[in-house]
């Protein structure tokens, strides 16, 4: 009995480890020439947004004419590793914030500047620039304490069948990884490349824009950019991407 139980525990641990290791980034499913293009900073179109984010970083804004760099200094050191642990709970408000919201929070609370519109060029550029400082670092978000209920809400959303076509995220991104949905090969749905440049959009877009496309694909409601449901979902996606490396700026079809 004891040994049977032990064997089961070992088996389950094995199963969990296996899933973490076998998750597939959409990058690995791209044709080799697009993979090479993402890896080459001179050819990756997302780098244009990173460069424009770098310019915005030291540009004064808001009533006090402050720039990000005045408080945070050199982003290559101060922002290194930050994106890998977002979404995160903001200690002051107790709210779960993703990187876009955290940047906007700095603008409104610390710079007396207006929030930048979600999906506008400036917020995409700043988010890409900050996230890029974590490229190559493993995702490691907190999912305990105050973050736990958000992670759980995201997990429930992920496994819930939805839309007129009644399909859950998991049915595609767990059960059918590597298979073809028409011509698209399905990845594990990792959030590690975003903001990313999509050839289909001919521009950079946020993770939430990608999520809205998946929602609409199953004819489900598209939630607002930055909606609490999508931020919770983003935390769940980051939790299941634990240890996977940040890729921003990704290149996608």
């Amino acid at each position: 009995m004891r040994s049977a139980l032990l064997a089961l525990v070992v088996l389950m641990a094995g199963a969990i480890a296996a899933t973490a290791e076998t998750r597939t980034s959409a990058r690995e499913l791209l044709p080799p020439e697009l993979q090479a293009q993402q890896a080459d900073d001179d050819a990756n179109p997302g780098m244009l947004w990173v460069t424009s984010g770098q310019q915005l970083w030291s540009m004064p804004a808001g009533a006090n004419a402050k720039s990000c760099s005045e408080c945070h200094g050199d982003a290559t050191t101060s922002m290194r590793g930050i994106a890998a642990r977002y979404p995160a709970i903001d200690a002051k408000s107790g709210r779960l914030m993703n990187l876009e919201q955290r940047i906007n929070n700095c603008r409104t609370a610390n710079m007396a500047a207006a929030a930048l519109p979600y999906e506008g060029e400036d917020l995409l550029a700043l988010t890409a620039y900050v996230a890029h400082q974590s490229r190559g670092l493993p995702v490691s978000v907190r999912i305990d304490n105050a973050a736990a209920p958000h992670f759980e809400a995201g997990r429930r959303f992920y496994f819930e069948r939805q839309g007129q076509l009644n399909v859950s995220c998991s049915q595609c991104h767990d059960d059918n990884v590597g298979r073809r949905l028409r011509g698209d090969r399905i990845s594990s749905g990792l959030p590690t490349a975003w903001p990313a440049y999509r050839l289909d959009w001919q521009k950079m877009g946020s993770l939430h824009r990608r999520l809205r496309a998946c929602s609409l694909g199953v004819r489900a409601e598209q939630l607002d950019f930055g909606s609490p449901e999508y931020v919770n979902l983003e935390l769940y996606l980051a939790g299941r991407a634990d240890g996977h490396l940040v890729e921003t700026p990704g290149l996608r079809k």
Partner: protein, 154 residues
Amino acid sequence: MRGASQGWRAGLIGLAFCFVPPALATEVRIATFEAVGDAIPAPLDGLAGDSTRGQKLVRDRETGNCLICHQAPVANEPFQGDLAPSLAGVGGRLSVGQLRLRLVDQSKLNPATLMPAYHRVDGLTRVAARYRNRPVFSAQEIEDVVAWLATLKE
């Protein structure tokens, strides 16, 4: 490769922005039906299906879009999915009544199925407003598609 991706995007996604299927203009009712075993023996609402229209619905990226998941023996469709069994020969494997039930609601046979129920509106979550309380296929469209599937003998 670009054409490939467009199936998922133009088909399922583009729809919300630019295309209003005629079915949406009028209320679409759910036909009452009786399942016997794993089949619905009687045509929905007693309607006769048209296999030519059926094939169109199967290929149409705005409605049936079956080829997003399935392969089928049709010409000029280079990008077909591989998430589901091929439809080749399905009319030989399954009776018309069995085909009808699988199309109306596959989840009656396999609650965990990936295949959408094409003629059902209840028990769905977070359906986009424009599709709410509307089945993917009307009773007539179910019969049309069943008629085409029945021709796939090999």
